[in-house]
Symmetry: C2
Subunit: 357 residues, 2 copies
């Protein structure tokens, strides 16, 4: 475990994205998006994925100079073709389109095709906050999740993020995979050689399992709710909605045909669309009620929930976004710790592109 | 247990809504919405609630002749004041506004204040389908749910419904409470004097419980995910988003201040808004891509998921909306079974309004 400053990781990541051919602007946008994950404590989605992105570029699955464009639009909607660009670049483009539409007609909704992994959903949703808007971001992803009553991997971990501004209180920022546990949680357990809790995964025959390596043995993640009795059909429905909004609306590849993140995994056959899909939304607060009024009620909402009586053994009730915001403050000050395997990964990338790390 | 035809329940329910002062049109709208729940097998939300609605009217909490109106709007948004009307009447009004806005600018989003319980969310979301639109409906409700790490009841079961049209396949219709189990599931167990599974409820001290009567003892329902280790913070976030979109955006009463459904429960003090809140959305498919193209990909999506390999012991993988649609076909043909306590309830209502049942 070694600790790096934000600036160190920024400079290195920026030069990697430059090395694969990104413009200065795109490299900066992608770097800010990627390191937002490390800052906010979602270590699985930050520089730990940089080698994955470079391998996708080597496999010609990422276009470093994409011609991202609107292919269809109405006053409140657009479909964006990401031209196989980095999701980290395509997503902010699409979110800006949503925000502009919201300025004009109250809300903006953008479905994106032909993209790649976009980092953490919350980073993009939060772009709306400074405009006094509610922001939303979701994406489909390669299939690792078995629907309720199935043993086949049909859906990605398909996260949903919703960011809602307040006034004196920090914003409400929910950002979660629609599975019981995100894949990154399994990776952490694999490193510790520990088992998962019950209800996170099943084996290839559909039996309950606690093997953190089960995805390498054709097992599957379970939808939020774990099993039918605990509402897994609701997690399955949520993941499906994300898949349909992100990919069927836009013309991206959906369900089990979503392109895999590891470059060594072959692309699915007979893909029904292009690349990964995302979906973004922006709602102007004052399209509903005066922004000051709304934000002061959000202060009240957040204050009331934060002061709800805690259960024994717990000090306080959290508001969605609290842990990540607190982590960001700590890591900006004290630096970002990286586990050895990630440091080694970054060294290999540095060698490959003749950079220093 | 006795079985009634749709027409029998329609006639009786219609005459009850007429008796409390609804117009013919409103009584018909409310009846169709209420009995949709019985038809679709969501027995807790159908005529079983009719006595609850009449008691709210007796307590002057329901206005049978509401002046429902738009109080603020932009091309893609509106806020509707329900004037304390039946949610079963206010919701279709608001959903129609969303659909009209979607016709004009691609999408429509309507937040509603000053309303009451609106029956099943799916019924309203499905109004969008015949217009080749995706429909959404959600509502807040009286607080029965403890956030993760809390023992205080802060949120309702706050359901989300999303209806998505297909072509040859029936539509995708998700409609679910953002809790592990809906309150109606507890009521069924109470009648059977059975325990709940682990993970549905906690007692007033926050201990795990399987007591189906625990809500009467200051216990709480658990958010979807049950506990932190299984993602209850995600269910808590979802329920919160529904609360904020439905009530903070519109000016309704939110969180623990949401008005209670049972008329004998006193209204909360210092309510920050008016009545219950709802949120509706309509997205025109062809605001994104040609409707025929989308619907044929939805056919493909549904077909592929329905043919996913089932787990041992399960015959098939379901698509959200399958069980309710199949139930509707059966009950339209064979009638709607009502348990004795509901029949007795309806007899009491009949006597009260000098009707025959």
């Amino acid at each position: 475990m070694a600790v790096y400053s934000y600036d160190q990781l920024y400079q290195f990541t920026f030069s990697v994205f430059k090395s694969i051919g990104c413009s200065d602007t795109d490299a900066s946008t992608a770097t800010i998006g990627l390191i937002a994950a490390d800052l906010r404590g979602i270590d699985s989605h930050g520089v730990a994925r940089l080698s994955g992105y470079t391998r996708l570029w080597e496999a010609n699955r990422v276009n470093p100079k994409p011609d991202i464009r609107i292919v269809h639009e109405t006053p409140s909607t657009a479909v964006v073709d990401g031209d196989a660009g980095l999701g980290l670049v395509v997503a902010p483009y699409a979110m800006k389109v949503a925000i502009e539409k919201a300025k004009n007609v109250g809300t903006g909704w953008v479905s994106v095709s032909n993209s790649n992994h976009f980092g953490i959903a919350g980073h993009h949703a939060m772009m709306a906050l400074e405009h006094d808007m509610i922001g939303m971001a979701m994406t489909n992803a390669s299939a690792l999740v078995a629907p309720t009553f199935s043993i086949e991997r049909m859906l990605g971990t398909n996260p949903i993020a919703v960011a809602i501004p307040a006034n004196e209180q920090p914003p409400f920022v929910a950002d979660f995979a629609t599975t019981t546990a995100a894949n990154g949680k399994l990776e952490i357990l694999q490193r510790k050689q520990a088992d998962t809790p019950e209800g996170w995964v099943q084996d290839k025959e559909g039996n309950a399992s606690t093997d953190a390596n089960i995805l390498k043995k054709q097992g599957a993640l379970l939808p939020l709710g774990s099993d039918r009795e605990h509402g897994s059909h609701k997690g399955y429905a949520l993941g499906s909605i994300v898949d349909i909004f992100s990919a069927v609306l836009s013309g991206a590849s959906y369900g089990p045909w979503a392109p895999p993140f590891p470059a060594y995994v072959a692309m699915p056959e007979n893909m029904p669309g292009k690349g990964l899909g995302h979906f973004f939304g922006a709602m102007r607060i004052d399209a509903f009620r005066p922004a000051d009024e709304f934000k002061s009620h959000m202060d009240n909402w957040i204050h009331r929930f934060r002061s709800a009586t805690p259960a024994p053994g717990h000090e306080r009730v959290l508001i969605p976004g609290d842990p990540e915001r607190e982590m960001e403050i700590i890591r900006m000050k004290e630096g970002i710790p990286l586990v050895d395997s990630v440091v080694e990964d970054l060294r290999v990338i540095a060698q490959k592109f003749s950079l220093t790390f």
